[in-house]
């Protein structure tokens, strides 16, 4: 994958794995590849992967089982929280940008509803 060199690599690895968990590409309880394997497939340093994993373990999303490896948590509560965080993060970016253009809240909601409807239709056509 392509990394943005201006953003800490460990943070980008975290984002990738969280995205995969929320999108269901990595199921609760699923074993993650070995650290070195992850490093090779992402073309990053082993220590950087380790750092990303440590943070995810601290946040409860990944569970490390001694001698067995790292697993996606089976605690759906935690995954739900991360999902909420991620949605909030994306929404707050959107909101702040539109707010800066002096668009009021109701207009934002309307525009969003209209966009989703149109997007849904065009996606159906494919």
């Amino acid at each position: 994958m392509e990394f943005n060199d201006k953003v800490p690599i460990y943070y980008q690895i975290k984002t990738v794995i969280y995205d995969q968990i929320i999108a269901g590409e990595r199921q609760p309880g699923e074993k993650l590849p070995a650290v070195r394997q992850l490093a090779v497939s992402l073309t990053v340093n082993v220590n950087t992967v380790q750092r990303a994993l440590s943070e995810m373990i601290a946040e409860g999303a990944i569970v490390s089982k001694r001698g067995k490896g790292n697993f996606v948590t089976e605690d759906t509560q935690v995954i739900e929280t991360i999902k909420t965080q991620l949605i909030t993060e994306h929404l707050s970016n959107l909101y702040e940008q539109l707010h800066r253009l002096n668009i009021d809240d109701q207009d934002i909601i309307n525009a969003l509803v209209t966009y989703i409807e149109r997007r849904g239709n065009s996606d159906d056509n494919h």
Partner: protein, 238 residues
Amino acid sequence: MTTIEIEKLNYRRNLKTILKDVSLSLEGDKIIGLLGENGAGKTTLMRLIAGTAKNASGTIAIKDDTEADTKKALVSYSNPLGGFAPNTPISKVVAFYEKVYPDFDQAKYQQLADFLQLDESLKLAALSKGTREKLVISLTLARQTSVYLLDEPFSGIDSMSRKKIINSILKWKPAEAIMIISDHYVSEIATILDEVVIIKDQTVVAHKDADEIREEFGLGIEAYYEGLYEEGVTHDEI
């Protein structure tokens, strides 16, 4: 215990200062980028660590060892194979390594050679730049040491070979060893670096954690490195 401890290193050659007052402490199992312009002293620093450049003042300790010959057993340096005749086949070079380096791991070499698709029967003169570098990397990584020094492994190499070499480094660098990779073009290796050491004006001007640079300055490694060089542009004689 730090893996490499350099203190007050000064090196002059042909009446010119190449390195002055270099102090550097490298530890752990890191991959370190040694960055600097051509002629900044990257190769000299590596050669001093490897013990093929001599007559410097100051100390270079590797795992607390300062004896020239025992230190050599702790360091694997990407020797460009200049000492071999051009008609030497790869198999002979490998046999030489196996004979003279007790820490040379034949099985590991074979894995690397298979991964990098090296043809043992080819002669050195017949190798492209990329293939030759793949051979150098395979030989260097097949030794089991505490320190690996890769001197500009990517200069003049096509991007496919580069990717393969980067992958082989990630796969086969021993977990507990330290690795220094020198380069004057950073972006291709930026994601695999733990730390960067920048050499400018004959000395180390920065030694930083790679992700810290991104976090602290919001800059890419390359932009940070170029920034350091531009600061001093007025000192350069043009």
